[in-house]
Symmetry: C2
Subunit: 197 residues, 2 copies
Amino acid sequence: MRLLKDKIKTDGIVLNENVLKVDSFINHQMDPKLMKEIGKEFARLFKEEEITKVLTIESSGIAPAIMTGLEFDVPVIFARKRKSLTLTSDVYTAKVYSFTKQETNEITVSHKYIEEGDNVLIVDDFLANGQAAIGLAKMVEQAGANVSGIGILIEKSFQPGAEEIRKQGYRLESLARVKSLAGGKVQFVETKETVYQ
Amino acid sequence: MRLLKDKIKTDGIVLNENVLKVDSFINHQMDPKLMKEIGKEFARLFKEEEITKVLTIESSGIAPAIMTGLEFDVPVIFARKRKSLTLTSDVYTAKVYSFTKQETNEITVSHKYIEEGDNVLIVDDFLANGQAAIGLAKMVEQAGANVSGIGILIEKSFQPGAEEIRKQGYRLESLARVKSLAGGKVQFVETKETVYQ
């Protein structure tokens, strides 16, 4: 997605060869118009999938997910994160290890909001090791629902998440695919606008 | 706001005389069209204020805030919550005690995103004891910016937050004002649609 890539080039900050900081327009300060365009783009990419729910995870996934849900006119659910502790009976759970924070969170979604037969689009801001996206997908499957696709704003293609997700058979669409952050410079995977499955 | 009050009546669940559960349309599953209408309503209510930033707090404030920011065409910032621990030098902080969770969180906003002269609209889902809203307001003032108003989806008018906020001189607009949850029934404050200051 051209608009997102341009924004990453102008406003993204490369902290080191693994970390791209986008807190001026995605995950602390957010650009509402960009989020709206991202929602439209996911709606275009997944328009054949008869999406019935959008699922994301707090907090940075919420803005793009709500805009996507608005385009599809379907409810949006955000999974809650918490340190792994109590198990509650009426929630789906998945354990998600964060490499950045070096801690395991348990993510949860209430049974009430994902039902058998739902076609769920998973949306998140970053894809690195794929732990969050795969955890969300597993919860959808626990519910007997269908993972119609995974929509990511920024894929770090040099980390293993994207490959792992595709290997597991999920449809993945990333709006910006970062090949490398070496030398303080963002390099994107060359594509004719993320058309792969 | 009629639409929100109707939704509370049909889909809100009164757990006890203090707790109204709205996780089917606000704080777990979200209704994107309702969020869009809420954004429009805040834009209407605060249209004279020359808003330059919208500020909220993760996670449930993000959806209504991003829709409000879209209407005003201004950036939206969400404050991060974390257990009180380290102080970082480049963030504004405020301590916020949660009566529900019985813990103190430190909320933070990067210095970069609120500047002197900004007219900031604070948006949040619930107002009960007012700790979050007042914490956000204090951070705005630390930055030398102006708190143009506080926009709340659901005010529990029988708890002290609303009165405290008005006493401190902030303009407060709550889209639904709940007078009582006694007897398992939601009763709203009678107003001609939240016109007070």
